[in-house]
Amino acid sequence: MKGARRIFAVIVAVLLPLTLGAAELDMREYLLGHVGDSYGWHIATVRGEAVSVHLPVIVRSSVSGWHVFSSGHIEEGGSWEGFRLATGDEPHSGKLVEETPEGLLRPFDISITRNVLGLMVNSSLVLLIILFGARWYRRHNAMEEAPRGFAGIVEMMVTMVEDDIIKPCVGAEYKKYSPYLLTAFFFIFISNLMGIVPFFPGGANVTGNIAITLCLALFTFLAVNIFGSRHYYKDIFWPDVPVFLKAFPLMPIIETVGVFTKPFSLMVRLFANILAGHMMILGVLSVIFITATMGAFLNGSLTVIAVLFGVFMDILECLVAFLQAYVFTMLSSVFIGLSRQEPESVHDDNKL
């Protein structure tokens, strides 16, 4: 025991003055580069050479029309056909801009960025998983046996979401909404999990991007409000409250705001949770690189701590991945269920 302590002290004494020749880490660049979007997919840097997947840039300029070119041309501050990435102090920083006589213009940009590719990969994965699960039923007699293995897991998940979330929350007409809600669940769940996978083709921060969650929230908003019952709209614009609350339209205003805050909360919740998870993991791991210049001992011991915390955060994120998919689906179901509600008091009046 005493010998071990002495050996440890010697190792510390030897390691302390050692430093690695590492560059200073630009924290802002590091975090935003990982959680944000980019035109190419940077995988790793090997001996100073960037290994990355070049993705197609698709832009339509109001001056020069459509342009399609590889993202390789605009990497490292390069310029192609008048397009380049805006730098830190310019407007649209990090986005593609066109240099025109009138100044920098932001074109209509539907490039296949990292997140778009991640979106495609994740969606294909969801499609494969579900269609594989569904294919089992074509090959077997579902009346006689239950699927096992992978198809069994798919069936279990689908049944779990449908029985635990959709049926109780939506109510009697759940069948009409269940394909959308299930699609949303599996899309969010798979995307969350793929976001945790640290290497290509995982690692794209799809569900932690506000554009994605905005679209998802918008779909729920449409599902809620297009098929809303008469009772739902009556409750918004003419609720059962004393007349003075409606004459000066306090309640209708509150209810109308509520219509928009519900999907807004969905959007922000998913976005913030996943983004925060990514940030936490990146922050914990950045400790390794920040301390690289502080000596081998400090760096080594903090690396151990950072890795342990990283493992913990990854496991936590696996839970969050499921939880956020569950919560998004459940709240969507609840909002849809509320919009399909029929007034109970009216039935009672009829009976009396």
């Binding site: 959680v35 944000g36 499609l127 579900i130 798919v154 689908v158 449908e162 394909p179 506000i210 554009a211």
Partner: protein
């Protein structure tokens, strides 16, 4: 700032890809899975209901069976009792008939014996009469061997007849 400003290109692709994904899954994915699961669970429910029904029927059959067994046993007891009654009756009757018959035979024998005895008595009487007649004859013959005796006898006889006629 770029983190919380939605990018139009991403919105475009998300809408497109999610719409395709939703269309494909809503057509070929989820309805098949949940439909089959529904069908299977309905079938299982049916099977359970049927099993319960069969069980109920089985238990009712068992009830019926035990009731029938009970009935049969009671019937058996009744028949046995009847049989034993009948047997007793037959034996009783036979006994009484036998006693009666025996009485009849006995009385027949008695009357026959009585008749035989009367006959025998009569025979004996007749024999005794003829015997006494013979004796009387012999005695008479011996007494009436002389004339005087004959006369005296006739005279007594005559007296006797006279007395008899007087009396009458």
């Amino acid at each position: 700032m770029s983190l919380i400003t939605p990018d139009i290109g991403l919105i475009f692709w998300m809408t497109l890809i999610f719409a395709i994904l939703f269309f494909l899954l809503a057509k070929f994915g989820f309805p098949i899975i949940s439909g089959m699961v529904d069908k299977r669970s309905r079938r299982i429910e049916d099977a359970i209901a049927k099993a319960r029904e069969a069980e109920e029927r089985l238990s009712s059959i068992a009830d019926e069976q035990s009731r029938m067994l009970e009935d049969a046993r009671r019937e058996q007891a009744r028949i046995l009792k009847e049989a034993s009654d009948t047997r007793d009756n037959i034996i009783e009757e036979a006994r009484s008939r036998a006693a009666e018959e025996a009485g009849k035979i006995l009385s027949g024998a008695k009357s026959e014996i009585a008749a035989e005895r009367e006959e025998a008595i009569r025979e004996i009487r007749r024999y005794a009469a003829s015997l006494s007649l013979g004796v009387a004859e012999k005695i008479l013959r011996k007494e009436l061997s002389s004339d005087e005796a004959q006369n005296a006898f006739v005279g007594r006889m005559m007296d006797e007849v006279e007395r008899n006629t007087d009396k009458s």
